[in-house]
Symmetry: C2
Subunit: 327 residues, 2 copies
C-alpha cells in the first residue's frame, strides 16, 4: 500500500501534481504524466479517498451524532448512512451522545475547523441556538434545529393516524400509548398527538405513559413494562415503539392473555427486531434507508456549496399488518 | 465555540504556545500564560481533543471495521468501544465491510498515513498477509491476523462446552447446531468443534447446519429457519446465535411444540435482543463491554509506542439460564 507521497517522491514531482493526474483535473505535461503513471504502476498505488480529498480541501468525513448506536433504529440508520457515504467516498465518524453532556461541542468545533465536512444530527443535547449559529453543513434527523437547517423525518402525523385507525378497526376500547417525556419536543411527537386526537374523536379512552427522554436500552424498557397488565388489567390496545411493544406482548403472554383477542398491539419504527415477535406485531414502518439517503443528499449539497432550500423533508410511513391486530 | 487559532490570535501568540498552556507541558512565560488564559476566558474556549492531538502529532481517531453495524453484537460492541474511546478523547471512524471488496485497504492506508491512530478489526476480507505487513497499531476482535497482532476474544471453548452440557443436562437426544461455513476460519469456530465433541462423546446425534459467512441480517436468518421443524421433526435441542435461536423458537411455537418440553434451545452471544424472547432463551453471554475495553487497552498501548506482548487475550463467557432449558 503505497501513499501519494511515495508516488510523488518516485516521480520527482509534488503531491498536487500527482493529484491532478489522479483526478484528471488541471494541466500536467505529457512527460510528467507518464512519469507519474509509471510510479503509480511500480508502487502498485491505489488512489484513495484521502488523496482525493486532500486535493479538494475536504476531510471526506461526515460525523453522525446519535443517542446510542446499539438501539436498533439508530444502528440501522447508521448502517444505511455508512453504505451511502461509502459509495460517495465519505467516511463516517460516530458519536454517541448518551449521558455525555455537551459532547457535541467537539464535533461542531471539528466542523468549524473543517476536520469534518458535515454533521448529521440524530440527537442533540445542546441548545438549538448553538446549532443555528454555525453556518456549515448540518442535517438533522427528526430534530428541528432552526436557522434553515434541513430536518429529515418520517410522516409521523400519518403514522399516528394509521396506528389509531388500526386499533379502532380492531375494536379497542381502552388504549395505552407509550410516549416520550411530556416536556420534551421533537418532530416525532406529532404522532402521539395525532394518535390521541383520533382516538378521542372516536370516544375511546386513552392513557399516556411517559418514558424518559433518550432512555432506549433493553433493560430500561423491560423494567418499564414489567407487570404492566397487573396495573392495567382492562387495557385492550397498546401503541409503542418496537422494544416496548415486544415487551408488552411478552407481559400479555405471561399473564395468560391472548393476542390479538385480549390485547391488540401496534408498534412504531419497524426495525429488524420486530421480525422476532410472535405472534407477529403490526407495525408502522419508518423508511430508514430513505431517511439515510435524504440526510446524505441534503448534507452533500451543502458540502458542495449550495444553500439548503427545504427546511423539512417528510417521507411516507407504511402500515404492515401482523397477527397482533388480526381481528 | 472558539477555536485554538482564535485564542492564539487574540493572545498574540502561536497555536503551539496555547497548546502548551492547555496541556500544561513545556515552559511558557507567566505574562504570556496570563494573556492566553484571559483569551480562553474571553472567547469561552473549550480545549478539545483535536487541539490536544494536533500538538501530540496524533489524529485522535480510531477506525473500527465491522461486517454490519446493525447486527446487535457489533452495534453493542461499537457502542461500548465508543464510550471507552470518548473517555480517552478518541473519536471513532466506522467501516462496514459487508459486500465492499477490499474496502479495508482505505483504512489501512489511512493508518499508514497517520490519519487514524489505530484500527480495531472485527471483520476482515483482506488476506491476512496484508495486515501482517503493517507495523502500526492494530487489534483484532475474534480474528487471527498473525504477526503478533493482538486478538481479543471470548473463551469460545468454554462457551461451546457449557452449551453442550446444558443441552445434555436437559435430556436432549438429537441436536442441531447452526455454524458458519465449513471452509472459513476464525477463533470462534472452536466453540462449534467443542460443542460437537462434547455431544459425540456422550453419544448424542448431532447435525451441523452451515450458514453463509457474514450473512447476519434478520431477513436471511428468518428465511434460514423457516419451516425448520417440518424438515427436522425429531430435533429436541438447538444451539445457535441470538437471532437464529429466536427464529427457531418462533418456528417451534408455530409448529405447536412446547418449549422446553419438546425443544430445548441455547443461544450464543447474549445481546440485548435475547431479552425479547418468550419463553426466555438460555444464553452463553459474551462479555461485550470487556471485549471492547480489552481491544481499546491493547490498541492504546500500541499507539503509545509499546510493542504488543500478548497475541491472544481470552475473556470468560457466562451461562445465563432461561426457560428454554428449564427441565
Amino acid at each position: 500500500m503505497a501513499t501519494i507521497q511515495e508516488v510523488a517522491k518516485l516521480a520527482k514531482v509534488g503531491v498536487a501534481t500527482v493529484s491532478r493526474v489522479i483526478n484528471k483535473t488541471g494541466y500536467v505535461k505529457e512527460e510528467t504524466r507518464e512519469r507519474i503513471e509509471a510510479a503509480i504502476k511500480e508502487l502498485n498505488y491505489t488512489p484513495n479517498a484521502v488523496a482525493r480529498n486532500l486535493y479538494r480541501n475536504k476531510s471526506g468525513v461526515i460525523a453522525v451524532i446519535v443517542p446510542e448506536i446499539d438501539h436498533p433504529f439508530f444502528s440501522e440508520f447508521v448502517n444505511e448512512l455508512e453504505e451511502i457515504c461509502a459509495e460517495h467516498k465519505y467516511k463516517i465518524m460516530l458519536c454517541n451522545t448518551w449521558f455525555k453532556e455537551n459532547y457535541e461541542h467537539q464535533y461542531l468545533a471539528m466542523l468549524k475547523e473543517k476536520l469534518v465536512d458535515g454533521v448529521v444530527v440524530a440527537s442533540h443535547s445542546l441548545d438549538i441556538e448553538e446549532y443555528a449559529a454555525i453556518d456549515r453543513p448540518i442535517v438533522a434527523l427528526d430534530r428541528q434545529l432552526g436557522n434553515g437547517i434541513p430536518c429529515v423525518r418520517s410522516d409521523h402525523e400519518v403514522g399516528g393516524r394509521l396506528a389509531a385507525e388500526e386499533l379502532l378497526r380492531a375494536g379497542c376500547k381502552k388504549v395505552v400509548q407509550f410516549r416520550a417525556e411530556e416536556n420534551k419536543s421533537a418532530p416525532f411527537i406529532v404522532r402521539h398527538d395525532t394518535f390521541e386526537n383520533v382516538l378521542r374523536e372516536n370516544g375511546i379512552e386513552l392513557e399516556n405513559i411517559y418514558t424518559k427522554w433518550n432512555y432506549l436500552s433493553y433493560e430500561y424498557n423491560q423494567k418499564l413494562c414489567q407487570d404492566f397488565f397487573r396495573d392495567h388489567p382492562d387495557i385492550d390496545g397498546v401503541f409503542a415503539t418496537d422494544i416496548i411493544a415486544m415487551n408488552i406482548e411478552i407481559e400479555a403472554l405471561k399473564s395468560g392473555m391472548r393476542i390479538p383477542e385480549d390485547v391488540r398491539i401496534v408498534s412504531y419504527d419497524g426495525t429488524g427486531i420486530i421480525k422476532l415477535s410472535y405472534p407477529s406485531i403490526t407495525v408502522i414502518e419508518q423508511p430508514v434507508k430513505e431517511l439515510a439517503a435524504k440526510c446524505f443528499q441534503h448534507l452533500e449539497s451543502q458540502i458542495e456549496g449550495e444553500k439548503p432550500t427545504q427546511s423539512m423533508i417528510t417521507l411516507p410511513v407504511k402500515l404492515i399488518k401482523g397477527m397482533s391486530t388480526n381481528i
